[in-house]
């Protein structure tokens, strides 16, 4: 059965995995425009923002092999928010979906990112000390 929301997807960014399998698992068919992305493109904000801005006003999906192991998801969401995308989501080959929501971004994901930053600072500092001594 075809999912209407999936059928309306116009742009698909492929981080990893198969867009065909992801779309099939999500319940749609792949007739959108495909863009290949490297996971570490996340370290090139200017390039990523330019791409995402060019997709404004369209329905976008980012395909990943397995959403549970997709790193930098909050960073991607921040880029999407800055670029002005509002209708977009992550999908994976198992049919999982993580839809972008402003509320979720500000209420859950950004506070968790701040916490992650703090834990990371402490962890890297302790790791550094242990490495040296």
């Amino acid at each position: 059965m075809t999912n209407d929301r999936a059928a309306r997807l116009q742009q698909v960014l492929v981080l990893s995995g198969s867009p065909e399998r992801a779309m099939a698992a999500f319940g749609g068919t792949l007739d959108a425009q495909l863009h290949a992305l490297e996971e570490f493109a996340v370290a090139k904000p200017a390039k990523v923002l330019a791409l995402l801005r060019s997709l404004r006003g369209t329905n976008v999906a980012i395909v990943t092999k397995d959403l549970r192991y997709q790193r930098f998801r909050t960073i991607w969401k921040l880029y999407g928010a800055i670029a002005g995308l509002s209708h977009w989501m992550f999908i994976d080959e198992q049919g999982r979906c993580d839809r972008f929501s402003w509320v979720k971004l500000f209420a859950i994901e950004l506070p968790l990112l701040v916490l992650e930053g703090a834990v990371s600072l402490v962890g890297v500092f302790v790791g550094w000390i242990r490495l040296r001594y």
């Binding site: 065909e20 290949a36 370290a43 092999k65 790193r71 992650e116 962890g123 890297v124 040296r132």
Partner: protein, 393 residues
């Protein structure tokens, strides 16, 4: 002998590619030699048959900042591996080297179990040349510790052996154990995939490539070469198996060359299915690219050994170990690394000469069976470990 294999790098959901093939191959080779093996990993485990696999997952709180998860994961692994070590009582740990990974050294200090480090390249070099590092000094120190504390370091090639020594390993503790192949799984008797019939390529000469489309694989050069080769021989077809970072660029080149209808991409397939795709090809390519900083190529392409075991004609860039394995005109043909025209000429020559393809393929198969099986690699590793133990006692 009991061996605990530890691979805790973050590879997400991917379980295909040369490093996984190597992992499965060497572990099955060790088991065939009577070694009792268990595996610790941190992501979904690849298929390991009867080998017990323990998963120590990454913290979900460290998924958004680069490298940090690797730094923090050391402590997590060392804590959680305790019950496995207490129950299994391994004689040795075999740890795959990865970014900021010092679990082997920490386990040695805490539990007294020595470790063999599987060194597949300097993480500092790879991150500097192929991606980016945010904690270079820390990465360098971690690498130095991992190499210095290892009882034995295995490198897949001589250039990598030199790299390990430069990064801190004791010269007398580094041995070369190249990648290999399961010569029963990859053999000329494999039934070909029906893909030729599917595309109507029954009478074509099919050029194949299998890989994870990493930057050094040179799949773009092969795409360009197919464009040139098809101008000289219209019966050629291209088959790409796998996916990865450069696949988008490869597809762009195929489009630009106007050969979309003569090339097929089958995407990522289970490793068990790879032999049938290779069997459907006539010529197989290893168009490896030189290192971007001019240093010697240090890889040991798994695909090369798999191609050889299939008994197919190979065209390869003679870089590093490839030059030692493939003798030009005897077990394959060489082409200039990164030169699409040179690769195209070799492909066209092979396409026009079926007898040469058979001759090269048979010689390559013989070499693979005699020298490059995983069993041979496992025996070499065990011999090196015995030498270390003998020198200590």
């Amino acid at each position: 002998m009991k061996l605990l294999y530890i691979r805790t790098d973050f590879y997400g959901a991917a379980t295909d590619g040369g490093s996984f093939t190597m992992q499965k191959g060497i572990l099955s080779g060790l088991m065939a030699e009577g070694v009792d093996v268990e595996v610790v990993t941190s992501c979904p485990p690849p298929e390991h048959g009867t080998i017990p696999v323990h998963v120590i997952p990454y913290s979900r709180l460290t998924m958004n900042l680069p490298e940090v998860l690797s730094v923090l994961h050391n402590g997590r692994v060392v804590r959680r591996v305790a019950p496995i070590i207490a129950r299994f009582r391994p004689d040795v740990i075999y740890q795959r080297h990865s970014s900021h990974n010092i679990t082997g050294a920490m386990i040695l200090r805490r539990y007294g179990v020595p470790y063999i480090l599987q060194f597949d390249g300097s993480e500092l070099w790879m991150k500097t040349n192929w991606s980016r590092t945010y904690l270079p000094r820390m990465l360098q120190d971690a690498e130095h510790i991992a190499l210095r504390c290892a009882a034995l370091v295995t490198a897949v090639s001589e250039p990598m052996q030199r790299m390990a020594i430069e990064c801190g390993a004791a010269p007398d503790r580094v041995v070369v154990v190249p990648n290999g192949v399961d010569t029963e799984q990859f053999s000329p008797s494999v039934v070909p995939s029906p893909i030729r019939r599917h595309y109507g390529w029954e009478n074509a000469v099919v050029v194949g490539f299998v890989g994870t489309f990493d930057r050094w694989h040179g799949a773009e050069v092969l795409a360009e070469a197919l464009g040139y080769a098809l101008q000289q021989n219209s019966s050629l077809r291209g088959l790409f198996v796998g996916d990865g970072a450069t696949q988008g660029r490869v597809m762009d080149i195929i489009q630009r060359c106007g050969i979309v209808n003569r090339v097929a991409f089958v995407g990522r397939v289970p490793h068990a299915d790879v032999p049938s795709y290779l069997a459907a090809c006539d010529i197989l390519a290893v168009p490896t690219l030189p290192n971007p900083d001019g240093t010697e190529f240090f890889g040991s392409p798994t695909k090369l050994f798999e191609y050889m075991a299939m008994g197919k004609a190979i065209v390869a860039s003679p870089l590093g170990q490839v030059r030692l394995i493939i003798a030009d005109g005897e077990t394959g043909l060489w082409c200039q690394p990164g030169d699409a025209l040179s690769l195209a000429n070799a492909i066209v020559r092979l396409a026009a000469d079926p007898a040469l393809r058979i001759k090269l393929g048979e010689a390559a198969r013989r070499q693979a069976v005699e020298h490059h099986s995983w069993s041979a690699r496992a025996r070499a590793l065990l011999q090196a470990w015995e030498n270390v133990r003998a020198s200590k006692s």
